[in-house]
């Protein structure tokens, strides 16, 4: 799709960091408040989609290629399954929540309105899934927008 007017670009420039911060907040507090990796990742991906709509797919494709995004997604997925494998290593069961009560990071038991340093590997998994969802959804949107743009241009 082609790029839009200057007003849209300016507004999206202003709104982009706010949406980004909110999405990262949702990811980071997934184990305390409503939300989590998927939801926050969807929020951030929608911010990236807003930039895509404002600036056009050609410009965005110049800035970032979809192969880099898929590499990011692979990293996120490897982090997620790697945490599960670490559970197999340390907790002797696949998907064991091995950080809980170990005295390391995120090791506290959540009680009442508790702080972020709880719930063992859950926040880490939230971050991994968040990275994965951001990269994945943005890659899907970017590739499809670019392809439809080429289709409208008539060159297959």
């Amino acid at each position: 799709m082609s790029e839009m007017s200057k007003i849209v670009k300016t507004i999206s420039n202003i709104a982009f960091p706010l949406v980004l911060i909110f999405g990262l907040y949702v990811i980071a507090h997934g184990h305390l408040t409503p939300g989590g990796g998927f939801q926050g990742g969807a929020v951030v991906a929608s911010a990236c989609a807003m930039i895509l709509v404002a600036y056009g797919s050609v410009w965005t494709m110049k800035k970032i290629k979809e192969k880099h995004l898929s590499l990011f997604e692979s990293v996120g997925a490897i982090g997620f399954i790697g945490l599960a494998f670490l559970g197999l290593l340390f907790g002797l069961v696949f998907f064991k929540n091995f950080l809980l009560g170990e005295g390391l990071i995120f090791s506290e038991i959540g009680q009442g309105l508790s702080n972020i340093n709880t719930a063992g590997v859950l926040p880490l998994m939230n971050f991994a899934v968040g990275l994965k969802v951001i990269a994945g959804l943005f890659a899907i949107i970017l590739v499809m927008a670019y392809a439809t743009n080429k289709l409208k241009g008539g060159e297959n």
């Binding site: 184990h31 192969k67 898929s70 997604e73 929540n97 038991i109 890659a139 899907i140 670019y146």
Partner: protein, 94 residues
């Protein structure tokens, strides 16, 4: 005009509609699931989510700890979709 296909289709759609209506009528009352719950999985989760997983958010504890393997599959589904879309819009020439 009603072709034979449409008549047959409408008839069996009525049968399926009957199926779903019976399902809707015989499901437990909306808002009162306790009646028909035999092993109470959810109350166990709500009571023990803080002690077992340390998370205050029971949904997150289900998504990432109790049923974390489903979430792995879910992430895999998204990964699969991205790989498939990129495969479909690839360049054919080397």
């Amino acid at each position: 005009m009603m072709s034979k296909r449409n008549i047959v289709g409408i008839f069996f759609f009525l049968v399926i509609a009957l199926l779903f209506v019976i399902a809707a009528l015989t499901t437990h009352e909306f808002g009162h699931p306790e009646k028909s719950v035999i092993p109470d999985m959810d109350d166990h989760i709500i009571d023990n989510t803080q002690t077992e997983t340390g998370a205050n958010n029971a949904v997150t504890s289900v998504v990432f700890d109790y049923r974390g393997f489903d979430t792995l599959g879910e992430a895999t589904v998204l990964f699969t979709a991205v790989a498939g879309v990129i495969l479909l819009f690839r360049r054919l020439k080397k």
